[in-house]
């Protein structure tokens, strides 16, 4: 009798009986809404905010929009570096930050001007950041990390920060902001998975603005939603209409409350980037004007104005007045940025380690002398913007 195994059948070309598969087709993912695109308000879901706060929400929306417009213009005039606008995502930005507390830590991805300002960053410093002035990137006075330009790379830090907050017994959460593109990075995966294991107070807040530069969401992942990615980590997922500021506020409030109990949450805010990716981008190369227009029709400011009208709260939040105020703030911030002291070249050496290493000290001293002796270096070195 031959005991040697040999044969292998020719492979089946169809499914075997009874092999059930898990498919996203069977998944029902709700999208939380308070005010529909048509303006219908679900009263039961309206958050319990004071009238002044409802009005303030609107001011923040206008602020985000105005800031983006002004910053974009400033960039065009050469007074800012590359700038990434949040146009179209105002509700998603404002509603989320409105649900946070000052003690929470925010890890920004770039477009969330209003969120950072609300969290305590000064407008001057934000402008200086976009002018490439590291000295202002301290985000002084606000629990805000540096902007994660390396997409997705902040996620494990969010987890670590939340872990630290938990160990320290802080009554606060860590909130990572990121886009749909970031969800495809290994860092996102490892960071969220680890948070799910640790059960730390982390909120992973994804603004799914439908594009990662030119790549539409449908090609970013085979998943129909970002929210369902939560299931891969055993954490809760929440999907929300990102153009409905009250819905976003609800979603992030809920996520924050859960996270505080050690249940990390992945929130997907479904929105749209109406502008260019950044001031260096030309979106006409990769998307149709009709699509952009269809989302303009879902404008988050219009939507919220409908709600305010519905509640009779429109008085006192005259958009023109708010814009003027924000413009004035912006002018002031630009002036303050322009006045920001020029730093000398030591700045690029002294902040790498707590104590300069001998070699860095040598390089710095050599360079100081060299610059003194070589005024012609000025031709090559442009501190192009103040600050």
């Amino acid at each position: 009798m031959d005991g040697k195994p040999t044969s292998r059948p020719s492979p089946r070309t169809n499914a075997a009986a009874g092999v059930e598969h898990l498919s996203q087709a069977d998944l029902r993912v709700e999208t939380h809404q308070v005010v529909t695109a048509e303006g219908t308000v679900d009263e039961a879901r309206v958050p319990d905010l004071a009238d002044a706060q409802f009005r303030d929400l609107y001011r923040w929306l206008v602020l985000q929009r105005t800031f983006d417009e002004r910053a974009t213009k400033l960039q065009r005039r050469g007074q800012l570096g590359t700038y990434a606008s949040g146009r179209g995502q105002e509700a998603s930005i404002v509603g989320s930050a409105f649900a946070l507390a000052d003690d929470d830590w925010i890890f920004p991805a770039g477009r969330e001007a209003a969120a950072l300002l609300m969290h305590g960053v000064s407008m001057r410093d934000l402008l200086l950041y976009w002018r490439g002035v590291e000295d202002a990137s301290r985000m002084e006075g606000a629990n805000v990390f540096g902007v994660a330009i390396a997409i997705g790379s902040q996620m494990p830090m969010v987890t670590g920060k939340a872990w630290g907050m938990q160990l320290a017994g802080d009554d606060a959460v860590a909130v990572g902001y990121f886009g749909d593109g970031a969800t495809s990075t290994g860092a996102f995966h490892e960071g969220v998975n680890f948070a799910g294991v640790l059960e730390v107070p982390a909120v992973f807040y994804c603004q799914n603005n439908q594009y990662a530069i030119s790549l539409p969401f449908a090609e970013q992942t085979g998943a129909d939603t970002v929210a369902q990615k939560a299931l891969a980590y055993g954490v809760d997922g929440i999907r929300v209409d990102g153009n409905d500021v009250l819905a976003v506020y609800n979603a992030v409030s809920t996520a924050r409350a859960r996270a505080r109990e050690g249940r990390p949450v992945l929130v997907e805010s479904v929105t749209y980037r109406r502008g260019a990716h950044t001031t260096s981008d030309d979106p006409t190369r990769y998307r149709e004007e009709e699509e952009v227009e269809s989302w303009a029709a879902r404008d988050p400011l219009d939507r919220y104005r409908t709600f305010l009208g519905h509640r009779d709260l429109l008085d006192g939040v005259d958009e023109v007045a708010v814009r003027e105020e924000v413009d004035a703030m912006f002018d002031e911030a630009v002036a303050a940025a322009d006045d920001y002291p020029l730093r000398d070249v030591d700045e690029i050496f002294v902040h790498l380690y707590e104590e300069l290493t001998p070699e860095l000290a040598r390089q710095m001293e050599w360079y100081r002398d060299f610059l003194d002796d070589h005024p012609e270096m000025d031709e090559y070195v442009h501190q192009r913007e103040r600050g």
Partner: protein
């Protein structure tokens, strides 16, 4: 042969078009390379010319881009992938170290990874954080991975062509600082410049100045303004390194200055200096000077220009070395 005048980024695009047309196993993919033609337009027109099967936008997944290229390469394809900025290559470092560079070694040649990772590197375009890195030294230290860095349009086309045709993986780092800063004549049609051969850009007797990529330009500017009879060597490939050309030049001049944009400590200038100190020491009449970026990350744009070697720094080092 007609010689169209092209910028470096046009020459890259030219090489991609030419090689994709010549060999239909050649594929191009990466973030924003298809529809939008690349954030620097290096892949412009490829989608239209070669179709969706061969030119693809990918998710924001540097690990997957490089790793998938290895898989495709083992199946007879010739992937040429783009990492949008070299500051975003570190997430894929493991795929380079653990797979791309070793697949031939691991399987004793049964599976191979003829593939190219293209990536714009270096500072000087007023970009955001992580958009200005020059980590070539780390990659050149990985056995099994070749690293080419052109400084001119003709070399950009020629070296990329060779990289695409190479039977082994090549990291192709493009000097984005000078992507569009000048044009020169570039051979039409197929044009290959071998990997591992340096070019002597200026012949001279008094001092050898070695550089590559973006820093060739301030280096040549410095040399041309100085009254020094310098020999200027453009390495073009840092792995493999053309030891012969380097050593022959230093043996002739007896002096050596290396210029690169990356941080000094552990930069590839160290390998150049060490090679000379090991194999041409007796010819040396002066210390080997390195003119490099400082040992800090590249500053954001307000201080960015303080970082890289500028012509005055290079000129001073050449002068001191020549007069030593």
């Amino acid at each position: 042969m007609t010689m169209p005048r092209e910028t470096i980024v046009q020459a890259v695009n030219d090489a991609l078009h030419t090689e994709m047309a010549a060999d239909d196993r050649t594929l191009v993919f990466g973030e924003d390379v298809a529809r939008s033609g690349g954030v620097f337009r290096a892949t412009d027109g490829l989608l239209e010319a070669f179709g969706e099967e061969r030119v693809r936008d990918t998710p924001l997944s540097e690990i997957a881009i490089v790793g998938a290229a290895v898989g495709l390469a083992t199946h007879g394809y010739r992937p040429v992938v783009e990492i949008q900025f070299s500051g975003f290559l570190p997430p894929a470092f493991d795929q380079l170290v653990s797979n791309a560079s070793r697949i031939r070694w691991r399987t004793r040649g049964r599976l191979t990874a003829p593939m190219v990772v293209r990536t714009p590197y270096g500072a000087g375009v007023r970009a955001l954080e992580h958009h200005s890195e020059s980590l070539e030294a780390a990659y050149a230290h990985v056995p099994g991975l070749k690293v080419a860095i052109p400084s001119t349009p003709a070399d950009a086309k020629g070296l990329l062509t060779s990289a695409i045709r190479d039977p082994d993986p090549v990291l192709f780092m493009e000097p984005k600082r000078v992507y569009r800063s000048f044009r020169e004549e570039v051979p039409d049609g197929e044009h290959a410049v071998p990997l591992g051969e340096a070019a002597v850009r200026r012949e001279g007797a008094d001092v050898t100045v070695v550089s590559w990529g973006a820093m060739m330009h301030p280096t040549l500017e410095a040399v041309d303004e100085l009254g020094v009879d310098a020999e200027v060597v453009d390495l073009r490939s840092i792995s493999p390194l053309d030891r012969e050309t380097l050593l022959a030049s230093v043996r002739k001049t007896g002096r050596c200055v290396v210029v690169h944009e990356a941080a000094k400590s552990g930069g590839f200038g160290a390998e150049v200096a060490a090679t000379v100190a090991e194999d041409a020491l007796l010819y040396l009449e002066a210390p080997i000077r390195r003119v490099t970026g400082f040992d800090v990350p590249v500053p954001l744009l307000s201080m960015e220009d303080y970082y890289p070697p500028q012509p005055p720094r290079i000129a001073a080092a050449i002068e001191e070395t020549a007069e030593f």
